[in-house]
Every structure is written in C-alpha cells, then in structure tokens.
C-alpha cells in the first residue's frame, strides 16, 4: 500500500515537472525562511536558560515615581548586594557586577578587553564553568583575574595561562586564577575577564552611598523561597538605609526573563524583546502558510486531472481515508523534498542571516533533536499543505467524475480566491511596512542633530592621556592638525550621565526632571560645531573663573524656568556652577527622542574623552597619521583608538536599518512565493480555458481581449488584497511608530504605491500565461476536444 502510494506520488511529481518545480521551490523558500526564523527564535528563547540555578537567580531592580510614572531600572547602589545578604536569610548569595573596559598587558602585548568586576560568589551562582581553577576561591584575592579561553589564547597563545601574571590598565599585576569556558552565544553577560570587586573598591570606583546607582546586583535565593515573598520583604531596604530621603523600592527580576521580558511600564512587565520574537514567529508562520497555500491552490486547480483517478480508485474499492492518506502522502513527500532543498538554502544563507541579525546561529547536524524537529517540521508542513487538497480531492463522487458530468473549473473558485487574497494581503502588508520603516529611518537621519559631525573625532582618555591632556592638546593645535580640541565627560554620541539632583533658584522642590549631565572643559561649541544661542562658550584662557562655568541647552533653560539664564547659579554634587552660555539643543542620545534638557559643566567636572575638530585643510589620512603620532608620543602604552563621530552617529540607526532590511527581505520572499503560486494558477487556468479561448478567437476576439479576460480575475483579487492589507498595515505601523517620539506621519501614497506595485508584479506574473494562451492557434485547441 505504502509502496503504491509512494510510487504514484513520485510519478505524479515527475509527470508534472512544472507543477512540482513551482511547489518545491515555493515550499523550500518558505521552509527555509521559517527555519532561519525558528533558529533565531530558539536562540532568543534560550538566553541565560542554561544556568543550573536559573530558577533562583535574579537581578535587583529599583523602582520609583518620576513625573507621575513608576520607572524601573537595573542600576543599584554598591552597598545593596552585601546588605541583602546580611539582612535576609532567604538570600543565598549576591554579587554585584560592574562592567569595565581595561587594557590588559602581557609583556609587550596590549589588548583592550571587555570585562567586569564581580563579587566572589558570581562564579558559583551562574553557570560559567571554569576549565582551570576553583570557582569558589578564584576571585578571593584582590589581585586575581579570571579570563576566558579566548582571551587566554590571545594573550598567551598556546601556553598555559593559569597562574600567569598580567597587568590590568597598565597599573597593577594580576595572577590568572581561573580560565573560563568561552561564553555561549545565548547569554546577556558579555565579558572576557572577571576581576574581584575588591579591586574596584581599591580604585575608588565603588562607594558606600545608597543614593548612587551604578552596578547591577545579582541575587541567588535559597531553595523553597518565592520571588513574591522576597520582593515583599526587600522592598524598603534602600528607603530604610536612606532614612526616607528617596522613595525608591527594590524588587527582583528573574534571570529567565532578562532577555525577553525586560520592558517595564508603570512598574509592570509589559514585554520587551518578546514582542519582536512573537512578531518574527508570526512572520515565519505566515511565510510557511503562504508557501503551503501555493500547494493547496495548485493541487486543487489540477483537480480535474486527478478527478478520474479518484473516481476509478473509489470504484475499485478505495475508501475515502485511503485516498486522503494517498494525497497526504504525496504532499508529505513533496514537503520532504522541499525540506532538503530548504536545508541547503539555509546552509547557504546562514552566514548572511547571521550578519544581518548579529548572531552566530548554526544548525546542529549532530543533534538528534534537530533531526526529530526536522521530521516533525516536514510532517507538519506536508499535512498543512496537503490537508485541504486531500479532503477536497477525495470527496469526488465517482459517478459524476467518470460520467464526465464533473464540472470543469474554469474561473477561480472561491476557496482558491480566498487563499490568493490571503497571500497578497500579507505581501502587501510587508511592502507597506518596508516603505514606512525606510521612511522613518530617513526622516530621523535627516533630523538636524545640532552639531557638525564631519571631520570630528573622539578618543577616550585612556592611560596617560588624562595626565598629558594639555600637552596633547597644545601639540594638536600648534601642529595644525586640529582647529579645536575639547575634553568631555563622554563621547558626543553617548549620554553617560544624567541626574535630577541639580539645584537652582526657583526650583520646584517636587520637581524630578531628569537632566543629561555632560562636561566639557572649554570651547565645546567651537569643537563640536554647536550653535550658541546666548552668552558664550566656556573659555578658560580669557575667563579664569570658568572652571566652574556651566552651559545649558535651550530645553534646560525652559525646564529650569529661567527668564535670564546667564549668571544663574546651579549646584550639583557640592559644586556651585555659574551659567555663562546657552547653546542650541543637540542630539546626544537617540535621534528619535525629543530633545532632553542638558547641562554642560566646565573643567571642574569629570572627563573620559577628548573631541578633536580636524583641520579640513588637510586630508583625513594626513590628519589621522599626525594625530596618531602625537598620541603615541604621550600615551605609548595604549593603542590609538579614534572614532569618527559621523560613523558613531550612523550607528544610532543600525537597529532600525536592520528592521528595514528584514522587512524588505521578508516582503521579497513573500512576493516570490506568492508569484510562483500565481504563475502556477495562471498556467492551469489558461489550460482549462483553451477551448473557450479558441471559440472566442474564432468569433473575433483579439489577443488583448483574451489577455485582459484571463488577467482580470487575478487583478481583482490583488485589489481586494490591497483593501484588506491597508488598514492592517496602517494599524501595525502606527503602533510601531508610537515607539518613536520623533516620527514620520504615514502618508496615503504609500498604500497606493504598494498597491500599484503589487498589481504590477501580479500582472507581469500572470500575463506570460495569458498572452501565451491568447497567441495559440485556435484550430489546434478546438481539435483537442
């Protein structure tokens, strides 16, 4: 029986090569897309699920009301971790975690690496196994360091790294007390080395203040405790230690939710990355469905050819379930072939997809679960694609079919119409989304950022640069490489500091407006090309008291309510600043946000970066070479790691660009698959109507008449699809755009344009068959009956 099924299935595939090709390629593209997306989803869902104690691991979060809204964030005070452990018996262990970015030196090998300070229990809490060393004591000593295998390889090559000495940040010697297995690609943690928190204490990075939120606090609960119970107890810990001066509350956020559920609104989890995962899941399902629809449509369109077979089989004794089995067998066979092709497509496109999504996804061919899921996937697809045709075809009555009273399906019948509309609706939605995403990116890119990005570079104050800053600056200026140099607290493209603690005259005591805090020693407006609205730039040469000068942006002036800002006094962290100027707003964080109030503190502030306005009279290569020479001279230990501000600024759009590229990719695939199906349908329709076409031509119809006649039905369906797709796409894009304060308005022509595009694509697809049919000699067609 099975052999007979397979036999006829193969022969049917072979006999109808065109049909099989369309079906297999459509299904393979659909399956390949779905597999890629499923791999991505699987990776996302597996983030930090590998920790053995995952059900007991948490991160402490703060929540407090600002501007009437309950905000949640993960930076916590340094004393929180130790206090939690001390005060609550339910808590097994805690570790603080503070990221750093030190230069690691072995001999004359210098490497900038990403790492963090953690407390000793970290390695026992989280499942980051050591291949060398003892996890319980590895970070006990202040001068111990744990490095990943990868970093070990970079630093020591094939030599044993354990117990070797290396220098961190060119200051002190550290002994390697552990070698970590490299982090898997599905963890939120990102480090190549771990240093003991004790060393951060020594460096003065940490403090004992309950109102300075900096590190993350990781918490392991004892078994048999619940998150809710502990949440309830620890809620007031910070308030208690601050004696009520802040209304901040502490709660726990489980490790299993960090990746996908970390978006809080008014203190409640409202989603996060899971939204994207769901969206991708829906897209995968739809692309697969659309590929299956091709199969359903083409199979039922061919039903006339199979009707006789069904009739005969029934007459000789086949029961309906046998026939259903036979047709499902055929679709599963087809799905299996498509699955193999899909796997090849996936293998070929995986690296590109990885690049697009910044992942390292791979198919684990050695994994039995992969093959089981692959088989399940093929069966699922085969059944999904085959069920409707199977039930439809097996329902034919032998009497009707064999007597020839079986109705010829001339036009498109209703279920098939619905399926085509579904395909095109989805395709058009994707086209519209692609266009709107691109528009939004362009809109934000064209937004005035408020400074001049070109010919501006920044460099972090690594190593001796801080100490030698004035020498470096003077040499840059005197050699004519730079026209202006300014030391700042952070790169101009990144907001590193903010505060609601500023004091000024007339401040509403209840105000909790958050200001961006930026520092610039002098001439910031000149270096960055920011426009001065009132007053002047900070200028240490001509105004000796400018070390405590402060500059506001226009939004800050409004937020502070100053009528005459110049000369106002602002207090921050014990320093009294005086306002010397007001600058026009510029974008420091997201180009999609409204401008935020910002204060720029003078040289008494803190500094981490320098910005250099290159002399545009020289070529960039020449400038860079000259800058490098000066940096090497004053900071010989550290690499020259400059950043062009325009490149950095462009990175602000990378997420959206990725969204745009993915949307475009998915629309392209959907259109491809849908058109394959449409082409197949048009082929069968033209075949079924040969006689009608012949008669019409004999009666005088022109080629145009016939082509129009045959294409008309399809175009009607596409127009219906546009009507369905537009409101969906509008609703969806409107929702997406709500996430951006600075956003385009959706214009009607996008819908018209997408519709016209879809019609054009459908027309091109269908017209080949229509014209071919219209051009055939009618005599030939009429003879065939």
């Amino acid at each position: 029986m099975l052999k007979n099924y397979l036999n006829i299935a193969f022969r049917n595939l072979w006999k109808n090569k065109g049909f099989s090709f369309i079906n297999i390629s459509g299904l393979a593209i659909g399956m390949a897309s779905a597999i890629l997306i499923l791999l991505w989803i699987q990776n996302e869902a597996s983030f930090d699920q590998f920790h053995q104690k995952k059900d007991r691991l948490y991160m402490a979060y703060n929540r407090e009301v600002f501007d009437g809204k309950l905000q949640c964030w993960a930076n916590t005070p340094f004393p929180l971790g130790p206090a939690l452990l001390r005060e609550y018996p339910e808590i097994q262990a805690t570790s603080r975690l503070q990221y750093n970015n030190f230069l690691v030196t072995v001999g004359d090998k210098h490497l900038k690496a990403q790492g963090c300070f953690v407390d000793t229990p970290f390695l026992s809490m989280f499942t980051f196994p050591l291949v060398k060393g003892n996890k319980t004591i590895a970070l006990n000593d202040m001068h111990s360091i744990v490095i990943t295998q990868q970093l070990a390889k970079k630093l020591f090559g094939d030599d044993e790294a354990m117990n070797k000495v290396l220098r961190v940040d060119s200051n002190e010697n550290f002994t390697v007390t552990g070698v970590l297995k490299d982090l898997p690609n599905n963890t939120q943690f990102n480090f190549e080395y771990l240093l003991p928190m004790k060393y951060a204490d020594k460096l003065g990075w940490s403090d004992n203040e309950w109102d300075n939120n900096s590190p993350s606090t990781l918490v392991e609960l004892k078994p048999n405790t619940t998150e809710a119970a502990v949440d309830d107890k620890i809620k007031n810990i910070t308030k208690r230690h601050l004696k009520g001066s802040e209304q901040v509350e502490v709660f726990l956020h489980p490790v299993t939710k960090w990746r996908l559920y970390s978006k809080f609104e008014n203190g409640k989890i409202v989603g996060g990355r899971i939204d994207v995962v769901r969206l991708f899941g829906i897209i995968a399902a739809f692309i697969l469905l659309i590929a299956c629809i091709n199969f359903m449509n083409l199979s039922t369109a061919r039903s006339e050819k199979r009707a006789k077979e069904v009739g005969i089989r029934k007459v000789v004794g086949a029961q309906r379930q046998y026939l259903i089995g036979q047709f499902l067998g055929e679709s599963i066979l087809l799905a299996a072939i498509s699955g193999v092709v899909a796997l090849i497509i996936v293998q070929l496109s995986l690296s590109g997809f990885n690049q697009l999504t910044s992942k390292q996804l791979a198919i684990e061919y050695g994994n039995i679960y992969f093959w089981l899921s692959a088989i399940a996937f093929v069966l699922f697809t085969g059944v999904l694609a085959g069920s409707y045709p199977a039930f439809y075809l097996s329902s034919f009555q032998p009497v009707r079919v064999l007597k020839g009273t079986f109705k010829k399906i001339n036009a498109l019948v209703t279920p098939r119409k619905i399926l085509v509309v579904l395909q095109f609706t989805f395709a058009i939605i994707l086209i519209i989304c692609t266009v709107i995403v691109e528009q939004q990116i362009k809109y934000a890119q064209e937004r005035d950022n408020g400074y001049s990005k070109n010919n501006l570079i920044y460099h972090l104050l690594t190593g001796d640069l801080d100490k030698n800053y004035n020498l470096v600056k003077n040499e840059l200026l005197s050699s004519g490489v730079a026209t202006s140099v300014t030391k700042t607290s952070a790169p101009i493209t990144q907001g590193w500091s903010d505060s609601w603690g500023f004091e000024w005259q007339g401040k509403d005591p209840n105000s909790k407006t958050d200001f961006d805090r930026f520092c610039a020693d002098e001439n910031f407006a000149k270096t960055a090309g920011v426009k001065i609205a009132r007053g002047r730039d900070i200028d240490l040469k001509d105004y000796p008291t400018d070390s405590t000068a402060i500059v506001l942006n226009e939004t800050a002036v409004k937020a502070m309510g100053f009528k005459e800002p110049i000369g106002q006094i602002i207090k921050d962290d014990g320093v009294t600043w005086h306002v010397v100027g007001v600058i026009k707003d510029f974008i420091i964080r997201s180009p999609y946000e409204p401008m935020r109030p910002m204060v720029i503190e003078g040289s008494k502030g803190f500094f981490n970066a320098m910005h250099i306005r290159l002399n545009s009279a020289n070529t960039t290569e020449k400038n860079l070479a000259a800058v490098e020479k000066i940096f090497k001279k004053y900071n010989p230990q550290y690499p020259f790691e400059y950043h062009f501000v325009d490149d950095e600024y462009a990175k602000k759009f990378s997420d959206e660009k990725r969204t745009g590229t993915l949307a475009a990719l998915f629309s392209f695939l959907t259109i491809c698959i849908s058109c394959l199906g449409l082409f197949g349908l048009a082929t069968y329709m033209a075949e079924n109507r040969v006689k009608e076409i012949g008669v019409r031509k004999v009666l005088g119809a022109s080629v145009t008449n016939i082509t129009t006649l045959l294409s008309k039905d399809f175009i009607g369906l596409v127009i219906i699809s546009i009507a369905f797709a537009s409101p969906f796409a509008w609703w969806f894009m409107n929702k997406w755009l709500q996430g951006y304060d600075y956003r385009v308005t959706i214009s009607w022509w996008v819908f018209i344009g997408a519709g016209l595009l879809a019609i054009a694509i459908a027309l091109i697809t269908v017209s080949y068959q229509s014209i071919k049919a219209a051009l055939t000699n009618p005599v030939k067609n009429l003879r065939t009956e």
Binding site: I8, I312, K314, V315, A318, Q319, Q397, V399, L402
Partner: protein, 229 residues
C-alpha cells in the same frame, strides 16, 4: 445462497438541478438471479447508467428497495457501500477508465491492494488474470501505449481480479471495433460460465445476444424482458 442476487423494487431516482427535475428511474422493478447474464438496452437517456450505478453502489436511490444477496443495501453509508463494493462487484466502463499514471500490472493490482491482499499473493493473482485476458506481455506498459481493445481487456482483468460475484459493464464495447468487441464479449461469457453474474448495458443487439435475458428500458421503466435461453 439466495436464488436472487439482486432484487430491486419500486426504485426511484430523480436528478434535480436548479431548472429541471429529471426522473431517471421511475418505480423500476428488476430481479437478477445468481449466475445470470443480463443485458440492459434502451435509448440514450432512459436511465441505464443510472441503474448500473445504483446496482454498483456508486450512487443511492431516492426511493425503493435494493436487496443484494438478501441484504437491504439502499441506505448503506459510504463506508459500508465501499466495503461491499470492493468484495463483491467489478466494473467495466465504455471509456475503460484506467489510471494513466499506473502500469497495466499496477492498474489490475489496485483492487487487491484495497482489499488488503499481501504482495506475493497479489502478484500471483494479477498475473493469472492478465494471462486469462492475454495481456501478460504488456504488463509493464502504460494505458496510453495500448490499443482500445487491449485497454478494455485490462479493465476487465481489473474488474475480475478480486473474484467478484457481480460484474457491471456499461457499454463495454462502445468504444471498440467489432473484432475487439467480440474478444471482450467472449471474455465476459467465459466469466459468466465460471459463475460470475453479469449485468451489461449495451446498444448492440449483437452483443446482447451473448446474454441470457434482455431487459429493455424506456423513461426509467422496464418495458419488456426477452428471455434468450
């Protein structure tokens, strides 16, 4: 075993389309004995095929009774009809109705597959029956590669491979020249001599003479019955 294989009483079949109602069978009464060879004749549209389809359990009547081997089958559901059909009834059509995608051998094998006969046994029986219809040498050919007469012989082979008690033939020689037609009639006669009951619709008086009895129909009713032997 009952003397009557088929007993049809007051059978009605009415085709309703949106515009017209066609009475295809009008209170028809027919009996067919075990081992009989009956020919049904009558002008086109008088209901012959309708009758044969109902006899073959491919279609159900609107009214009346159909007793097959002492069992009332008029209101069997599709599953039971299919079951009864595959064990008891073989069909031969005017237009052969072979499956184009299957070889001669596979076409004939089909009914055995559906009755669940094992592979080696199937092979034996298919080969035996192909021998009988003298088409063994073409067993691996596809239907399109055969002449009309050969195709109909294959169709007859397929109808009898399951050893049915009843063979229903709807104008089996209608598409054949007289020489090929005679071959097929010869075959049916042999089968009948071996005990198979046959009901055959035909337009040809010549073919009808192979039978024992001719039922003449008009407008869904029998008009006369000629007993030939």
């Amino acid at each position: 075993m009952a003397a009557n294989m088929i007993k049809i009483t007051d059978m009605e079949k009415i085709y309703r389309t949106e515009e017209v109602e066609t009475v295809a069978l009008n209170k028809l009464n027919i009996e067919v004995k075990n081992g009989e060879f009956v020919a049904v004749m009558g002008p086109s549209g008088c209901g012959k095929s309708t009758l044969l389809n109902i006899l073959g359990l491919l279609d159900d009547p609107d009214n009346g009774s159909f007793v097959f081997n002492d069992i009332e089958v008029a209101h069997f559901n599709e599953r039971r009809r299919a079951d009864l059909r595959k064990h008891n009834i073989g069909f031969v059509f005017q237009s052969f109705n072979l499956i184009d995608e299957l070889t001669v051998f596979e076409n004939v094998e089909l009914p055995l597959i559906y009755t669940g006969i094992k592979g080696p046994e199937r092979k034996k029986r298919v080969e035996a029956v192909l021998d009988k219809v003298q088409i063994m040498h073409r067993r691996n050919h596809y239907p399109q590669q055969l002449s009309g007469g050969q195709q109909q012989r294959v169709a007859v082979a397929r109808a009898v491979v399951n050893n049915p008690k009843l063979i229903l033939a709807d104008e089996p020689t209608g598409n054949l020249d007289s020489s090929n037609g005679n071959d097929v009639m010869q075959l049916l006669t042999e089968l009948n001599e071996q005990g198979t009951t046959i009901v055959m619709v035909t337009h040809s008086e010549h073919d009808a003479r192979y039978s024992h009895r001719i039922i003449r129909m008009l407008d869904g009713q029998t008009v006369t019955e000629n007993i030939l032997i």
